[in-house]
Symmetry: C2
Subunit: 154 residues, 2 copies
C-alpha cells in the first residue's frame, strides 16, 4: 500500500484540493513525449481518481492517448492550481505519482465518489469497459504559493 | 523557420488563446518523468512564450526543474482550456511543440509583449540572465470542444 504523502494531510492543502473543480494531468510516452489534459478529479485524502468519460468515435477508453501513455509509462504529474490577477494569490499543488486502472469493487466506489462531487456524472452511463477510472498514487508533492507557507513539500 | 500550424490561424481558436490568462505546460525528463506547471504566456500568432519570473533561493532560472527538463528533452505539451460547470462549454487547445530559450534581440521583444498582456510584469525587473524567456514552436495542435467544431486539428 502506498503510504499517505504528508503534505496532502495539511488542512490548507486539503481544502485547496477539495475546492478545485479541475486539474491538469501530464503523462509521457515511453519515448518521453509529454501530453497534457484538463480533467475532473476525485480525491479521497490519499489517492486521486479520474474517469474517461469521452468516447472518441472509433476508440475505446483504453485506446486514447493519455491511456496509452499510462500503459507505457505510469509516471504522471497532476497539478491543481489557482489563477488570480493578484499574483500574490497564485498557488499550486503538484502531485508526482503513478497511475493505474481501477478494477473490481473499487470501480463503483470511485464512480460514486465522482458523482457526489460532479452532478454532471449522475446522468452519464459510465461502464468499466468503455469508461475506465484511473487511480493516481501520489509519491511526492510540491506546493507553491504564500497560502501554503506552513505546509512544506514531501 | 517553423511553419505556422494551420489550426492556430482559425479565428475561434485564436480568440480562445488570446483571452486565456493561464496555460499548463507539461515537460518530461530524459527518463520520461513528467512535470506540469501553470504559467502565464504570450502568443504572437505562431509561437508561444513564457518567462521564468520566480527566483528560488539557491537556483538560477536555468536550474529549475522545467528548464532542466527542456534542456534534456525539448518536447513539451502546452494546454489552454476553459472549465465550465456546463460541460457542453468545456474546451481545450493542446499544443505539442519544442521549447528553446530566447536569446539576443528576441528577449526584449518577447518581454515587451508579455508586459503588454500582463501588467503584473511591468514592475518586475526581469533580466535575460536570471529570468530566461522560453519560446515554444508548435508542431501539432489538437482542439477539443463544440466551439471548435469548424477548426479541426493539425
Amino acid at each position: 500500500m502506498t503510504p499517505s504523502v504528508k503534505t496532502l494531510e495539511d488542512p490548507v492543502v486539503r481544502d485547496f484540493i477539495d475546492r478545485a473543480r479541475v486539474a491538469h494531468l501530464a503523462t509521457a510516452s515511453a519515448k518521453g513525449a509529454p501530453h497534457n489534459i484538463p480533467l475532473c478529479f476525485g480525491f479521497d485524502g490519499v489517492r486521486f481518481y479520474f474517469a474517461i468519460d469521452q468516447k472518441p468515435k472509433r476508440l475505446s477508453g483504453l485506446m486514447i492517448k493519455r491511456m496509452r501513455n499510462i500503459a507505457e509509462n505510469p509516471k504522471v504529474a497532476l497539478v491543481i492550481d489557482h489563477y488570480d490577477e493578484d499574483w500574490h494569490e497564485l498557488a499550486y499543488v503538484l502531485i508526482f505519482g503513478r497511475a493505474a486502472i481501477v478494477a473490481g469493487a473499487e470501480y463503483p466506489t470511485c464512480l460514486e465518489s465522482l458523482r457526489k462531487k460532479y452532478s454532471q456524472y449522475q446522468t452519464m452511463d459510465l461502464q468499466a469497459e468503455t469508461n475506465p477510472i484511473v487511480r493516481i498514487e501520489p509519491e511526492r508533492v510540491h506546493v507553491w504559493g504564500s497560502r501554503f507557507a506552513a505546509a512544506g513539500s514531501s
